[in-house]
């Protein structure tokens, strides 16, 4: 029933390319640039999830507020008028897409509607779907950890978003791909955070380097990189304590971790992976802005998309920062991680209308 999209998702011309990230006279200029091209092998390297993942996404996302809202909106087969657009705007906003992104999307549709580009409400829906896909397509860039050895991933984000769980999932995924994975217990602050990561290590039979509670995070991660080198590990994934982006001192500590790693490998960390809780509202924009400025975030993971919140804020993030979204979290177990797929994401959000 989604044939239209299945046939040519890739050729969809971007209706509204995301604005280039605003020039910012800050340290982020020094951050490693976003990989310009996606390694061709990456898409082939994910045969496991191609079909089931898409179905999984649709199933899981179908119950979302955005999905429900838009679904019922179009099933009423409403008249093609400004009221419909207003309703559409409201629906996008209530899905955390954000006032600015929503308004921009809807204004574009309004102009096209007045130019009589759409025959009916379904035509308008398809145009919206195209625009949403166009916003996310550019940030659909998988993470390929083969470029360096060891490939160092530094995981960052605010408290409770799912960093440690995501690391557990990544360890499983990369181990299953036959890579030699090592984890670093860099959250030395939260009670039992080291234990939590160690449990994930045991579950996945992946070693964890730790020094225990209250150790210096930078030194733990530095040691782990040394260990990763001497053991010939392919990937090192470092956990860090959650911190609010407003806590200057703690944010500086992240900067320090990145600097310390560079002493061993000037290119490290090769990926600064920021985890964002999918239930977060517009504050995610502030979070990403600060983290990007201080540690040069290079990729995102959006978690907890198995609930009713569907992370509509990613549209605002894509629009403002254009950073790659690497993965989404769809549950609490080791296999609940999917490579981000813009089409699957939008398909889940925009259920097909009655007739198809």
């Amino acid at each position: 029933m989604l044939n239209f999209w299945k046939k040519k998702p890739a050729e969809t011309p971007p209706a509204a390319a995301p604005a280039a990230p605003a020039a910012d006279p800050s340290p982020e200029a020094a951050a490693p640039p976003v990989p310009a091209e996606v390694p061709a092998a990456a898409s082939a390297a994910e045969p496991v999830e191609a079909a089931p993942a898409r179905r999984g996404w649709r199933e899981r996302l179908a119950g979302s507020a955005l999905g429900r809202g838009l679904g019922s909106l179009f099933q009423r087969n409403p008249r093609l008028d400004d009221d419909l657009l207003d309703e559409l705007e409201t629906t996008l906003i209530t899905a955390d897409v954000g006032v600015e992104a929503s308004t921009a999307l809807v204004e574009n549709l309004r102009q096209r509607m007045h130019k009589r580009e759409f025959a009916d409400a379904a035509g308008l829906r398809n145009a919206l779907r195209e625009a949403l896909v166009a916003l996310l397509k550019p940030v659909q860039q998988p993470l390929d950890p083969s470029g360096h050895k060891p490939f160092v991933v530094l995981t960052v984000g605010i408290n409770g978003v799912g960093k440690t769980t995501t690391i557990g999932k990544l360890a499983r995924r990369w181990r299953d791909e036959g890579r030699n994975v090592l984890l670093a217990a860099g959250d030395t602050f939260r009670a039992a955070a080291v234990e939590q990561l160690k449990t994930w290590g045991e579950r996945n039979a992946v070693p964890v380097i730790s020094q225990g509670q209250d150790a210096d995070a930078a030194s733990v991660i530095f040691d782990a990189l040394q260990a990763a080198r001497s053991r010939g590990a392919d990937v090192l994934v470092a956990d860090t304590a959650g911190r609010l982006h407003t806590q200057g001192g703690l944010m500086d500590e992240l900067g320090k971790i990145a600097r310390v790693l560079k002493k061993l490998d000037p290119a490290a960390p090769h990926e600064v992976l920021m985890v964002i809780d999918g239930t977060t509202g517009q504050n995610a924009v502030n979070q990403l802005r600060q983290f990007r400025q201080i540690v040069g975030v290079t990729g995102l993971v959006v978690t907890k998309l198995d609930g009713t919140a569907k992370g509509g804020v990613v549209f605002a993030l894509a629009r403002e920062f254009g950073l790659p979204i690497r993965f989404v979290g769809l549950g609490e177990t080791a296999t609940d991680l999917r490579a981000f797929d813009a089409v699957a994401f939008v398909d889940g959000l925009l259920p097909a209308a009655d007739h198809d």
Binding site: V99, N159, A192, E332
Partner: protein, 459 residues
């Protein structure tokens, strides 16, 4: 956390200020702005609509007082309505039952339940003099039980052990029995985070609730939550007879619309705010002060209370007397002040509450950080007692030694001394001003701190 909403509303109201009176038309325009502001602050749409409707009815109707300008009148109406939605007074925990009083926590993954248990345990022990026991029914998340065990040890309360293989309902039952045996006043029951769409998990917490009949069932919600706060809150309120809400991570810069949504949807009072990761970062929630904070007036009342609770009264008295007698404010005094500031949850916690500060751009505020305070304390710590009492002694070579000793740069030492001089000047002015309350000392100190991170002095 509510800065941006207040900024936005004041801009709108400033525009209104030029008008003669509140007409249907200019109200409509202002309300559109208010609507966007509330949505951007992540207030759930149904709540926004209800709020706007109430404001409209009251503003256009003849509630406007003669003494107010139209702008003020609208702010007052919006403020009144925000307050009305938030409830009228601070609600405490209800523990008036035959002990043990059982408190059940519920919420999504990562909301802050376990941390809140530790904070509540500490608050009840220290301020209410209760005998507290905690227990974890989170048999799912790795190391969740260990997390609570560690925290219980930190705050010095009884911990009822449990294990990942056990049944949550049985754990809670056993804990209640133990609490009875050990004559505990309050038993705090931590639970695993769960999604409201997870039927099995929702059934589990219902069963848990039925088995232990808690006197308080607290819904813990992250203040950064978006529109989903309404959906989630509704589902939890439908599943469980909630008695209150805890709003966590309010130490960030989220606009906190979730507070309005959850309160409106559940009808349950917000009983506490989580304002930091440490176990003392739990504040009673005062609904009547929230609207003021939203509108940028600063939560001065909360600040006064906090100052009174945490400032070492004796030291403060001594300093006040010293300053009043015209004695010189020295580096020893400065260190005391810095340490007190640290005790109070650092500058970020303090600044948020001061009037005017909410208007400062985030970039400025983020420069003033607590690491800076610690560094300053370290620098002073590397001086000899004589140097602390007579800062004039600190010549170039002494400064270099202090820098080495504290692992800082000579420039840092120079900066600190400059800030000291500013504070000293402030203090001597204070002593001439006479009759100074604690609050004024604090804000004096804060002004001194202003120079530190490149923050412009506030007024």
């Amino acid at each position: 956390m509510f800065e941006s909403l207040s900024q936005r509303l004041s801009a709108t109201v400033n525009r209104l200020r030029g008008r003669g009176r509140l007409t249907e038309e200019n109200i409509r325009e202002a309300l559109r702005e208010v609507r966007i502001a509330l949505l951007e602050a992540d207030v759930a749409l149904p709540v926004v609509q209800a709020l706007i409707q109430r404001v409209k009815v009251r503003a256009v109707g003849q509630d406007v007082m003669k003494s107010l300008s139209p702008g003020q009148a609208l702010v007052k109406v919006v403020s009144d309505e925000l307050t009305a939605v938030m409830g009228t007074a601070n609600s405490e925990l209800n523990l008036a039952v035959t002990p043990p009083a059982v408190v059940l926590m519920a919420g999504l993954q990562g909301a802050g339940k376990t941390t809140t248990v530790a904070k509540l345990a500490r608050l009840l022990t220290e301020r209410k003099k209760k005998k507290v026991m905690v227990v974890s029914c989170d048999v799912y998340r790795p190391a969740a039980i260990e997390q609570l065990r560690t925290l219980a040890e930190q705050v010095g309360v009884k911990f009822f052990p449990s294990e990942a293989g056990q049944d949550p309902v049985q754990i809670a039952r056993d804990a209640i029995a133990a609490a009875r045996r050990e004559v505990v006043d309050v038993l705090l029951v931590d639970t695993a985070g769960r999604l409201h769409v997870d039927e099995a998990m929702m059934a589990e917490i219902k069963a848990l609730h039925a088995a232990i009949t808690p006197v308080e069932t607290l819904f813990v919600v992250d203040s950064m939550t978006g529109q989903d706060a309404a959906t989630t809150a509704k589902a939890f309120a439908d599943a469980l007879p909630l008695t209150g809400v805890v709003l966590t991570k309010t130490d960030g810069d989220a606009r906190g619309g979730a507070a309005l949504s959850v309160r409106y949807i559940t009808g349950r009072p917000i009983k506490f705010l989580g304002a930091g990761e440490k176990t003392d970062a739990l504040e009673p929630f005062h609904p009547d002060r929230l609207a003021q904070r939203i509108l940028g007036m600063g939560d001065v009342l909360s600040l006064v209370e906090e100052v009174e609770r945490k400032v070492d009264q004796e030291k403060a008295q001594k300093l006040a007397q010293k300053v009043m007698k015209g004695k010189r404010f020295d580096l020893e005094d400065m260190r005391d002040q810095l340490e007190q500031m640290n005790n109070m949850g650092g500058l970020a916690g303090l600044m948020d509450k001061l009037p005017g500060v909410s208007g400062l751009p985030d970039s400025v505020k983020s420069k003033v950080n607590d690491g800076e305070i610690k560094r300053m304390v370290a620098i002073i710590g590397s001086m000899t007692p004589r140097e602390r009492r007579h800062p004039d002694l600190l010549n170039g070579s002494r400064r270099a030694r202090v820098a080495r000793g504290s692992g800082t740069q000579p420039a840092d030492v120079n900066r600190l001394l400059k800030q000291y001089m500013q504070m000293e000047k402030m203090m001597s002015k204070l002593s001439k001003g006479g009759g100074k309350g604690l609050l004024r000392q604090m804000s004096g100190a804060l002004k001194g701190m202003g120079g530190m991170g490149g923050m412009p002095p506030m007024r």
